[in-house]
């Protein structure tokens, strides 16, 4: 299914929504992706970018019992990852380990380290402790946030705490603040909420309806990017949460996912249901205190903020991940199961 301009393609057998960068893999640039098929046997693919960077190789293919709605790789162990799955009627989440020596086995089975069974409800996502070797996890459903402690050796997970956001908020996803590990952002029906894990209380919120996705800027504290259904992408400064620092037009239809580059400040990637991935540059200066100036100038600059639009997709793009090993590379996954790796090197800002 090779196609497109510069992108390297890889086809999954079924439809799929999620792709994750394998952060702990320091030797290769690899991604994990899982399929979403209601009726077929679902698979998890471990993809590796060949050393030349010209080919995407399937390193491992594992069957997964249910359709996968969310997948996240463990930041400190490349063989561990989490999935959120659905049986059609109910949702569940589990931590998996890729078996050793899977290359030699014919039909390797994933090893289930732990099931987050005590979390019932419509789970949206599982978040790993943002960096470093820490065995904490968060799982989120529409109403509550669970904090787990994972013990890989004992293969068990315990609920440490449970925060309830209440029925009305219907949380849809979130992000763990990499600058402050006690803070978690959760997207809800009418706002983005910030939870303090110690006090288990909502500390702050951005009143913004229909936020689909949220990501912290890993290079810059207090900066948060949100993607919204109709009104595009907004960059926020959490200290001044009333007004967005910057506004990007987003996509023709919904903006589904948004990701800040782990290395290059201001580089933002967004995926939309208009079958496109857009690369933005949100100028760093605007996040300073010169908001008034930049917002005056922004109407004219806004046009130039879009660095590139990758439109070589057949369906809505839901999955999006930067590579942390080679931060100029990103993987995107459209609903028809097509993984495309692109390099943004030509668009990198000069340093």
């Amino acid at each position: 299914m090779q196609g497109g301009s510069s992108g390297i393609g890889y086809g999954l057998k079924y439809q799929a929504r999620c792709i994750s960068d394998v952060k702990a893999d320091t030797d290769y640039t690899s991604f994990l992706t899982g399929t979403l098929s209601l009726k077929e046997e679902n698979e998890v693919h471990l993809l590796r970018l060949s050393s030349g960077g010209s080919e995407l190789i399937c390193e491992g293919l594992f069957s997964h019992p249910n359709e996968i709605w969310d997948l996240a790789s463990c930041p400190f162990d490349q063989r561990i990852f989490s999935t959120v799955f659905s049986t059609g009627e109910s949702f569940g989440a589990a931590i998996w380990q890729i078996p050793e020596l899977y290359g030699q086995l014919n039909s390797p089975q994933l090893e289930r380290i732990a099931s987050l069974d005590s979390h019932v409800g419509k789970i949206n996502c599982v978040l790993w402790w943002p960096s470093g070797r820490c065995d904490k996890l968060i799982s989120m459903d529409e109403q509550s946030i669970y904090l787990w402690s994972l013990d890989c050796s004992k293969k068990s997970a315990e609920v440490l705490s449970k925060d309830s956001a209440g029925m009305l908020h219907s949380l849809s996803g979130g992000a763990w603040n990499p600058h402050d590990v006690n803070s978690v952002a959760a997207t809800g029906e009418s706002s983005v909420q910030f939870w303090d894990l110690r006090t288990k209380k909502k500390v702050n919120s951005i009143e913004r309806a229909h936020v689909r996705n949220v990501d912290y800027n890993p290079k810059r504290e207090h900066i948060l990017v949100t993607a919204e259904d109709e009104s595009g992408i907004h960059v926020w400064d959490l200290r001044k949460a009333k007004i967005p620092v910057q506004e990007l037009p987003g996509h023709t239809h919904w903006t589904w996912a948004v990701r800040c580059n782990p290395e290059y400040d201001g580089l933002i990637l967004s995926a939309g249901t208009d079958s496109a991935v857009n690369l933005w540059y949100a100028s760093a200066s605007s996040s300073d205190d010169k908001i008034s100036e930049s917002s005056v100038e922004s109407p004219r600059q806004r046009v130039n903020l879009l660095l590139n639009s990758y439109t070589d997709y057949e369906d809505s793009v839901y999955g999006l991940a930067w590579s942390s090993r080679e931060p100029w590379i990103f993987a995107s996954l459209s609903y028809d199961g097509r993984v495309v790796i692109e390099s943004v090197k030509p668009f990198l800002p000069r340093r």
Partner: protein, 779 residues
């Protein structure tokens, strides 16, 4: 040799040369030049060598020529001889007459000396007699002179004795000038002899002078007296050595107080301006406040003139006063234009002020009042221009917000009104500015270039800020840091989608109609502003403004669609979030969200119809999307029909494969085309976006059989009305199918409804909605 044409000339010339050589003492000097030029052949030169000449002649000429030459020469020689004889005779004659004259002179002089002696004797006797007369009359003359001197002295004494009485008389007749003159005349004498002989006299006259001084002072301070008289009084006082400085200080203070009366207060200014205009029409109306004001200022300047003459050292102070008045005028003017002021009113006030300045400038040319006022006028004028534009923007925004959007058909009215406001406003501005430009006051003529610059820049800035204002009004940009107040209150409320549409269309109007018009106007009457006025920012650039408004109109239209789809999105979200689709019950009727969806669309249609123009080719529009589209839709239709027949889950996978294959082979249907400013385009885009949203919502759910059937039913029902409203049928078909496909993909047990049941349910729904409509119509 000599040609035949000029032998005579040559001859005459030679003759003259010969004669002149005869008379001049040294012939070599005069003939030097010619002798060199005519070396050999010139017979007349001193260096003439006859032998050489002969040789040359013989060599050059034949016999005939020589003979001819010979004859010619002989004739010449004869001629010369006679000429010489004549000369000698003439000279001789002159000699003879000269000797005769000398002889006559000699005889005349003889006998003159005797007469001379006689004359000398007579003169001597005349002198001795005159001396005798002189000595005899000397004594008498001395006496007369002495008498005369005594008489003069006596007259002076008489004057001094009369002085008090005379002064009294002067006081009575108020002829202070004379009195002071008399007193000063008598001063030296009084000073010398005042203590002795004229003691009484001095005291009396001093008393009189006291009175005079007092009178003069009162006169100086009395306002009823004319300035002229007061000035005179001051001059007199000064002559009397009365200390005037304190007086001066007092007077100037008074003048300062008078300034207050001259203020043009903002609240009175409009009245003043009106009267100024009306008094022009009818000259008789002299009692208008403008006239009064003018008189007051005239009086003020007269006073200044007088004071200046009286107290030459007080100039500085007067300058200060005049400047103060000028700056006060302009400050008041600034206050005045803070309110809404027409250009005519502005000009009226301006003229008054300028007249005042001119009046004062006449009196105090050194105060540089015109420069000062020119500067101040520039500032004021600039402010006026800026204010005019901000008023216009306010007008437009007021017009936009004035109406209650919720009323029926009001959008059209709003659009018309705001269009009119823009056109009328700009026309008014032009008219006003033209008045300003036509004004012939010196100061305006000077500022013309600047003014043009400001106007151009004003328009540029105006449209920029208007665009920003539109965006703020539409709620696209938050008005957090600037322009709070009225707009802020509105934007925090829900912004009416209709208003956004109006703004979009208004932007188009501005881009296409207003800006070209303004460009014309500017080219016609406001071109050629000095480039210095806007070195920093560019002046009026219509191209950029067009671009800005073009972008704004597109942005606003997009925003309109966004807000509309957002509304529908909320409906859809509710629809899909609420039920448990996995445990859905059998479909009994078309779900009501369809009604809401259609209702919203209808509203969009209504709004759009009021404001946007119709697209040109309504139903044919779809042909310009790819031809393969129709096959695509039929393709997915057949696919869809196929699907109806299959219930086997085993085949679902091949089905998926088929969809993939289908997607591979068809061209991407362009769902997201560019929005145009037509009714159809906007509605179509809205529908497309909503259907896409619908598809995305469906993909997020998992359905059981009944759930799927419900979706199928709803979509089937939507098909007909949507196709009616939308121009791009192919895309709609495609999107509707996509929804069904998405639902079937997310369905655990795909068994579609049988077509008859589908039909029946749809018919039931149609009947019901018809009945509902009838009810609402009848009620």
């Amino acid at each position: 040799m000599a040609t035949e044409a000029a032998p005579m000339d040559e001859k005459a010339k030679r003759m003259r040369d010969l004669l002149s050589s005869f008379y001049t003492p040294d012939p070599s000097i005069s003939n030097n030049a010619s002798s060199i030029s005519t070396s050999f052949d010139n017979i007349n030169s001193t260096s003439f060598d006859a032998d050489q000449y002969m040789d040359l002649m013989i060599k050059k000429s034949n016999l005939e020529v020589l003979l001819q030459r010979h004859v010619q020469m002989a004739a010449e020689i004869k001629n010369l001889d006679t000429d010489l004889q004549m000369l000698v005779y003439e000279n001789y004659n002159k000699f003879i007459s000269a000797t005769d004259t000398i002889k006559r002179m000699k005889s005349n002089i003889f006998g003159m000396e005797g007469n001379m002696d006689q004359l000398l004797q007579k003169i001597m006797s005349v002198q001795s007699r005159s001396d005798g007369v002189n000595t005899s009359l000397f004594e008498k003359r001395e006496h007369i002179e002495k008498l005369h001197r005594t008489r003069n002295l006596l007259r002076k004494v008489q004057f001094i004795y009369d002085l008090p009485a005379r002064l009294q008389k002067c006081i009575k007749s108020e002829a202070y000038g004379d009195a002071v003159r008399f007193y000063i005349g008598a001063m030296p004498i009084l000073k010398v002899y005042g203590d002795t002989s004229f003691q009484d006299c001095r005291r009396a006259s001093e008393e009189a002078i006291e009175i005079i001084i007092k009178n003069l002072q009162t006169k100086l301070f009395s306002d009823s007296e004319s300035i002229q008289a007061r000035a005179e009084a001051a001059v007199l006082l000064k002559q009397l050595n009365v200390p005037v400085d304190s007086l001066k200080a007092k007077l100037l203070e008074k003048l300062e107080q008078a300034l207050d009366g001259l203020q043009i207060k903002p609240e009175e200014a409009s009245k003043l301006a009106e009267y100024n205009d009306s008094s022009k029409d009818e000259e008789t109306n002299d009692q208008g406040p403008a006239k009064i004001h003018e008189d007051a200022v005239r009086g003020f300047s007269e006073a200044m003139r007088a004071y200046r003459e009286i107290f030459p050292d007080s100039e500085e102070r007067l300058f200060k006063l005049a400047r103060a008045l000028t700056t006060m005028h302009f400050e008041n003017m600034e206050l005045y234009i803070r309110k809404r002021v027409s250009a005519a009113q502005f000009l009226g006030i301006f003229r008054i002020i300028w007249e005042d300045v001119v009046l004062m400038d006449e009196v105090l040319p050194e105060a540089a009042l015109s420069d000062l006022s020119a500067e101040a006028a520039q500032v004021t004028l600039k402010q006026f221009v800026a204010r005019t534009f901000s008023h216009l923007q306010q007008d437009i925004s007021d017009t936009l917000l004035k109406f209650d959007i919720n009323q029926k058909e009001v959008l059209k009215v709003v659009l018309e009104a705001s269009r009119k406001a823009v056109l009328q406003g700009t026309a008014d501005i032009f008219q006003g500015f033209r008045q300003l430009l036509d004004e012939n006051t010196v100061i305006f003529v000077k500022m013309k270039d600047l003014l043009i610059g400001w106007i151009q820049k004003g328009f540029q800035d105006f449209f920029r800020s208007l665009e920003a204002h539109f965006l703020v009004l539409s709620g696209k940009t938050s008005s957090s840091n600037e322009t709070e107040g009225l707009i802020e209150g509105k934007s925090s409320d829900k912004i009416q989608a209709g208003l956004i549409l109006v703004l979009a269309q208004l932007s188009v109007f501005i881009e296409q109609k207003v800006i070209p018009r303004i460009t014309e106007e500017i080219a016609a009457s406001f071109s050629g502003g000095s480039s210095q006025a806007f070195e920093n920012g560019p002046a009026f650039i219509p191209g950029e403004l067009c671009r800005v408004f073009h972008a704004a109109s597109e942005k606003l239209l997009q925003h309109y669609i966004d807000t509309r789809t957002q509304k529908i999105s909320v409906v859809l979200r509710k629809r899909f979030k609420t039920p448990n689709w996995v445990k859905h019950k059998e479909p009994r009727e078309v779900h009501m969200f369809v009604d809401m969806f259609l209702q919203e669309l209808e509203e969009v249609g209504k709004e759009v119809k009021q404001i946007l123009p119709q697209g040109t080719f309504r139903k044919h529009k779809r042909t310009d999307s790819n031809g393969s589209n129709t096959t695509t839709s039929s393709r997915s239709n057949t696919l869809h029909n196929d699907k109806m027949n299959r219930s086997n889950s085993q085949r679902a996978r091949s089905q998926l494969f088929e969809t993939h294959l289908a997607k591979l082979f068809k061209q991407k249907v362009e769902i997201f085309t560019k929005v145009e400013f037509t009714q159809e385009s906007v509605v179509t885009t809205t529908v497309k976006l909503c259907l896409k949203s619908l598809q995305e919502y469906v993909r997020l759910q998992t359905f059981n059989r009944s759930g799927f059937q419900q979706i199928q039913l709803d979509i089937q029902y939507l098909k007909a009305p949507l196709k009616e409203t939308v121009e791009d049928e192919a895309a709609i078909d495609f999107l509707l199918d996509e929804v069904i496909v998405a639902a079937s993909e997310r369905c655990l047990d795909v068994i579609p409804l049988e077509p008859p049941i589908l039909d029946k349910l749809i018919q039931a729904k149609l009947a019901k909605s018809k009945e509902h409509n009838n009810n609402t119509v009848s009620s």
